[in-house]
Amino acid sequence: MEPVILDNINIEIKEKELLKILGNMGRAESWKGKGIEEKIASVLELASKLIEPKGIYVIAEGRSLGGTDIFDSLEKIAFSICTIGEKLEMKVNALSREGSMLEAVLLDSAGSVAVEETADYIENRIGEIAAGEREKVSPRASPGYGEWKIANQKNLFELLPADRVGVTLGNSMMMSPQKSISFAIHISESPVRLRGKKFLKKL
């Protein structure tokens, strides 16, 4: 199939997820009354104006990804790259330069939540497509985890024209904008987990 572009993905940055990423998982409420709740609310509002969630994916044979043979035995796999764009990280950098560390840290964390939610959206979309064909999907896995080498990121960018959603790859295999995620999802009647050291043995 041809790569599919998903533009203007509608996501909501959940406060609960933001608190979790900031290390607040149902802890004592020492933080309340210090103005943090108000800061979080205003940062969430700002973040929602700055993010531009979008992504691209393709459903292909595992061997269509060059540079590695780890997916070769998989008949159907989705490869995807998604992002929230660069506006949010530009604002984070500006805040950091101004010395507004709290706002910078909160906004950066909101961006991390947003890009995960963008990936979740695409993962769900692929899950729906699979369900339509009575197939299931594995959880998503990214280069740099388990057996999937980070260097293989460049092959993923050869397979997917990620520049069409504004994502480019640097020499160090770092994506720009930073708040971008690349991943694969196995589609099958009995999908295998694509992460973890032992995943190759399961194939």
């Binding site: 010395g99 709290l102 910078a104 840290v105 980070i150």
Partner: protein
């Protein structure tokens, strides 16, 4: 006087930058001993914030607010110390940056902020910093410690590059070198011959203090 120090300490624990600034102004106006105000008040506060964060009582915004409160106070108090040519507060000098090819900035900046708030003189080179720039900065500012951050397995090799370059120039022993960032570990620090590894901003403060003082 102890009551005043306690107020300074509490302002930091509460993350109240406005109060910290007000107390710093009061200390100057009333000719209080500035060095003691810093060491027995504000720095004690940030040490407590670090402890509360490490034991899980505080979460990240509270840590940042505490550091910001101290920085605000120090922005007024440090120039007074310089005017008085008072020695004894500076714990040491650190040059810090994210290595070349890596543009992750926020974690490194947080480490720099915590180090500043804890009494270190910090020179932040930013991100995508070449090996030579770390070494030139260290020489220019006469630092004790070079701290580098890398967030990718591909860029962490540059941390090895800093050590190799220092060795090549015969100045490895001149500096304490520490590393940090998501893919780093104590094992990685040992492998490349760094002096230490810090997993977060609070442990970086403790590590740099320990390595510089030689305790």
């Amino acid at each position: 006087m102890m009551q005043f120090y306690e107020k300074c300490r509490k302002a930091v624990i509460e993350g109240d930058s406005d109060l910290a600034l007000k107390l710093a102004t009061e200390a100057i106006d009333k000719n209080k001993p500035v060095l003691d105000v810093i060491e027995k008040g504000f720095v004690k506060g940030i040490e407590e914030v670090g402890r509360l964060w490490e034991d899980g009582t505080f979460f990240l915004p509270e840590l940042v607010m505490g550091a910001e409160a101290v920085k605000k106070a120090l922005s007024l108090l440090n120039p007074i110390l310089s005017d008085q040519q008072t020695k004894g507060f500076e714990k040491g000098k650190v040059v810090i940056g994210t290595v070349e090819g890596d543009i992750h900035d926020i974690g490194k900046t947080l480490v720099a902020t915590m180090l500043s708030a804890s009494g270190f003189e910090v020179y932040d080179l930013g991100y995508d910093v070449g090996v030579d720039s770390f070494i030139e900065g260290a020489d220019k500012w006469g630092v004790n410690c070079i701290a580098s951050s890398a967030l990718l397995t591909t860029t962490m090799q540059k941390q090895r590059g800093i050590i190799e370059k220092l060795k090549e120039q015969g100045i490895r022993n001149k500096y304490t070198v520490i590393v940090g960032g998501a893919p780093c570990s104590r094992k990685w620090a040992d492998e490349i011959g760094a002096d230490g590894y810090a997993k977060d901003a609070v442990s970086a403060v403790a590590l740099v203090g320990k390595l510089i003082s030689g305790d």
